[in-house]
Symmetry: C2
Amino acid sequence: MVTLKQLAKELGVSISTVSKALNDSFEISEETKEKILALAKKYNYRPNNVAVNLRTRSTQTLGVIIPNIFNHFYTKILSGIEQEAKKNNYKIIISISNETLDSEREGISFFSNGSVDGILLAPSEETEKVNDYEHITDLHAKEIPFVLFDRYSDKVASDRVIINDFDSAKKTITYLTNLGKKNIVAVSLIKNLSVGRLRRKGVQEASSNVTILEFEDEKEFEEVFFQFLKTEKVDAIFALDELAGIIALNLARTLSLNIPKDVSIISFSQGILSEYSYPKLSTINQHAEEIGKKSVELILSRLKNKNKPTETKIINTALDLHQTT
Amino acid sequence: MVTLKQLAKELGVSISTVSKALNDSFEISEETKEKILALAKKYNYRPNNVAVNLRTRSTQTLGVIIPNIFNHFYTKILSGIEQEAKKNNYKIIISISNETLDSEREGISFFSNGSVDGILLAPSEETEKVNDYEHITDLHAKEIPFVLFDRYSDKVASDRVIINDFDSAKKTITYLTNLGKKNIVAVSLIKNLSVGRLRRKGVQEASSNVTILEFEDEKEFEEVFFQFLKTEKVDAIFALDELAGIIALNLARTLSLNIPKDVSIISFSQGILSEYSYPKLSTINQHAEEIGKKSVELILSRLKNKNKPTETKIINTALDLHQTT
DNA sequence: CTGAAAGCGCTAACAA
DNA sequence: TTGTTAGCGCTTTCAG
């Protein structure tokens, strides 16, 4: 890679003259600028990013830690983050925690050496389960700005971008009730996540008549819920996460239940499975890309003003009705 | 962030002594090392990555350009890349081209300023369509090592990690033929991609009796293929991409065809849609994570030896039979 | 065993 | 308008 030094030498001018010319400084004469620009172009000069970073003490890079890259919801958030970052001339470095605390700690440590200007983070399932947020609050001491998205804890004081899970769940139950549904069952595969708890609370708040079934894993869910559907009267299923929704749908079809006549299904969505399910699931759309965009906006404004009070952005959901309702 | 300078000052030693001690150099006495390490720990010292990068002229970072983050296949590759990179103490920076040439160019330019040691790249659909690879071959002039994965062109001399698409398609048709299938139709939504062409060629090579239907988009596919299934005799569908497989499956079910009795379906897979389809699709598994891992291996070995001849790694597929065959 | 000094490539204050 | 110089934080050669 060609450097300022080499350009300067070849033109017989000083390094700072070249630097200023390339940054279009008013101090440099048009004539000099031109010849410098020409040579820079000829050699396809690009300022060494690492050197610029060191000198300016900013990396124009954001670190992103996501729990699970196979979850379409996070992929969409990531896409939103990437777009908004690119728009603002920021790069993103990604670390995947795979829902484990260790990996998340590693990711944070990875980012805590000046590689990034700020961090966007959705805590892992394990982090939420063991309720240990020290590695995150430590970021305050390290003076690394960060934003929590999707998942958060009251233990961590920070900017946040979240979904109104509680309200969405509540409203959905009310919606089903108004439809005349009497035997609603809510199913969940995310009982350990903060969002899972919020959604469950929303359900409970809306009605005490709803049966709530929460499962550790898909297998348990399939076995137990299959029996449940076979023996109990159910006219509506509300899935608190997309996987639960899809599996419930498939189980109902296996039992030859008529959807939506016998039983309606509405599911929180991540986007892809429900879109190509058959029949197409009615979903609560979470505007994931919006979450990503807002997270970037929030961290950038935090970067500009480190001392402003923390902010919580709430992204609203939308009920997208399709063939299962 | 605390620096070497500050540690040195507080202990009344030189910067280089601190540096050496922290790097566990044999030149430094145990005693000195201990007190330096203790202080570093107390202040939670972390070497400034940017400075280290500048000094060592290596960033320990790989740039990854993927065409589409919503495609589970690429997500899996990304996961493989991330794991293997982490294992080797490399970071990854991600740029998403969204299947457009412009975005891809931008990504490459983004990475061409010393931010990364090497680039992993799957060319965009548009790049393949207009057949313009100059921005990629330019990397040779810039002396930035790169590896193409999944998609490639003969126009670009480089290390590659690819799938044996041709053979897989060929073998699958043979497999269906041996099953006694007489009216096989191959469907594709990826006719413009190099892998799409390779798979089609594999089909053609295996048998001239297979009807091949290629479509521009999902809508056209749904309309045309629905009519086709209604009017033509079909006892096996071979989908050259997962989306085509899922849609074909749903269309067949809409027509109440018995699967797999009336019609067998096998599809190239990306992993997630087929896994949760009902009934579960038989797929050609592409070992995406393996592609990611091998790509990292390849670029790292290239980084070690810039002058070795280019290498092409072929990842084999596996036929995973489920309920649709 | 420890320290001084150079330098990675760049920006920017200051001097000329 | 241009150049000199210092310095970002670190590694490493060389001298002591």
